[in-house]
């Protein structure tokens, strides 16, 4: 009898829980973001502030930038955070998105085992680094998932006149997120292209090192993109606008500038709206 009572109250409690969730949904904003922004912990820090200021709770769906842009195109998102400039500009040009604002940046790194068998440290450019890796048939873990990072891999391979789908014996396509791809690279002692933020979060665990020098072709710009309001309920379009303005707010930009200093000893992102600096 006691068991039955406990069971019934559990069922009742979960029903209440499920319902309360449903009520809150009407206040929400569907934010589709690239995984690195979520995995770095930045959103977990910013979203509560956004909710406090506006009363809007953002629901976060983290996928690769390619998938995020497709979701935006199909109207399955209110606002996007992505880092695939070419695809973003195409989305705006197609009319599916109305506003693309770059709001922060960091850079990609080519990481690998400290022994550096392919000589990436001596490479003259990121494209040259890729050529060295391919020429020595060294192992390289590719994201292979049409994410922003994967698109950059493809761009670097093309710049180096290499087959964009790899093609050398050591080329591995993981089809996985940045974190898992870094784990695979660490286990198999391979080279990999990663955004600096996720790399720093995993560095201790995987024992790989940054081997590349900063270069323009490794610049990684994150943008906030509003979907065509005609595709959204008016209230959601309004919230998307609020969210875009929120990210450009000087106080939030300062917070982005500080983010990561505590955990990694250095900031993970550079805000683009704090002082006058060139924007892409």
């Amino acid at each position: 009898m006691t068991h039955l009572r406990i069971f019934c109250s559990l069922v009742a409690a979960s029903a209440v829980f499920a319902c309360s969730d449903r009520v809150a949904e009407e206040e929400d904003l569907l934010l589709v973001t690239t995984t690195s922004v979520r995995d770095s912990g930045l959103l977990a820090e910013l979203l509560p502030i956004f909710q406090e200021r506006t009363g809007v709770r953002a629901q976060v769906v983290a996928v690769g930038s390619g998938a995020a842009l497709r979701m935006g195109r199909d109207g399955n998102a209110d606002v996007l955070l992505t880092h695939a400039p070419e695809g973003e500009k195409a989305l705006v040009a197609s009319g599916a998105a109305v506003s693309r604002v770059p709001f922060m940046e960091n850079h990609f790194v080519i990481a690998g085992p400290p022994e550096d068998p392919a000589g990436v440290r001596e490479a003259s450019s990121p494209a040259d680094a890729m050529r060295r890796i391919a020429d020595s048939s060294a192992r390289f873990v590719s994201r292979g998932d049409d994410s922003g990072t994967h698109r950059r891999e493809v761009a670097l391979l093309k710049e180096a006149d290499l087959d964009p789908s790899g093609g050398w014996p050591g080329f591995l396509s993981s089809g996985a997120g940045m974190g898992q791809s870094l784990q695979i690279a660490g286990e198999k002692r391979t080279y990999i292209l990663s955004d600096i933020g996720t790399f720093l979060a995993f560095q201790k665990r995987i024992e790989l090192e940054v081997l590349s020098q900063p270069a323009p072709s490794l610049r990684n710009v994150y943008s906030v993109i509003r979907i065509d309001p005609a595709k959204l309920e008016p209230v959601r379009a309004e919230r998307a606008e609020q969210f875009q303005a929120f990210l450009l707010d000087p106080e939030i930009q300062r917070q982005i500038a500080e983010f990561g200093r505590e955990r990694f000893g250095r900031p993970l992102f550079r805000p683009l709206h704090l002082e006058s600096r060139p924007q892409s």
Partner: protein, 218 residues
């Protein structure tokens, strides 16, 4: 992103079978004897052992994947074997998932035999070496249920094989991890195509086994 060719679909399907069937064979080879041994005997500590097995039958595969991950990672106890993110690691995780299912269902089948089945067999003067054969014949329906359950468990599993296999193209990418990947990439048509293959595969294999099971009944 190029859509996967027919060749690629065939390759992923073939690799799925190349991982799942050995895992099933190993689970059966180890699990059936253990199940029969535990099922037919009374001994001290049997109850805790059986409840441990029953717990294993409900073990979340993703937790199994995590445990195998820690065992095989470079700094783990078996790191020197370099098995993480290889098909061998996937087989290992699937055996850990399937083994309790095989043992649990087998011992339940043995336990469901008539209490004095063994007494009858003994009274009839059946030699000891034939008794095991008779037992297996007697519980064959239960054993096939064990095979079908184990196969379904590992064929449809994604968490563990993702964690220890890594979904590497041409190496450890199987139907479930490919479906997950294409879903996350927004390539829903390809994901759906692979899902149809997976369900079809299960339908064919379960159908074959059920045919065997039911023909044995007549």
């Amino acid at each position: 992103m190029n859509p996967p060719s027919i060749g690629l679909l065939v390759e992923i399907t073939a690799r799925t079978l190349a991982v799942c069937l050995p895992a099933l064979a190993i689970s059966l080879a180890i699990g059936l004897p253990i199940g029969i041994a535990i099922g037919g005997r009374r001994f001290a500590g049997r109850v805790p052992l059986v409840s441990l097995i029953n717990t294993g039958m409900g073990a979340p595969p993703v937790v199994v994947g995590l445990v195998v991950f820690f065992a095989l990672e470079r700094n783990g106890p078996f790191g020197s074997w370099s098995l993480l993110y290889s098909p061998v690691a996937m087989v290992l995780a699937q055996v850990v998932i399937a083994l309790p299912l095989v043992v649990g269902i087998t011992l339940a089948a043995v336990g469901s035999l008539d209490e004095d089945w063994e007494l009858q067999v003994r009274t009839l003067g059946v030699p000891k070496r034939w008794r095991l054969w008779l037992l297996v014949r007697e519980i064959r329906l239960g054993l096939l249920a064990a095979v079908i359950t184990a196969l379904g468990g590992i064929l449809s599993e994604v968490g563990a094989v993702m964690a220890v296999g890594g979904n590497l193209e041409g190496e450890t990418r199987v139907l479930t991890t490919a479906i997950l990947m294409y879903t996350q990439m927004g390539e829903l048509e390809i994901a759906l195509g692979l899902a149809v293959i997976l369900v079809g595969l299960m339908l064919v294999l379960a159908g074959l086994l059920t045919a065997v099971q039911q023909s044995g009944r007549a």
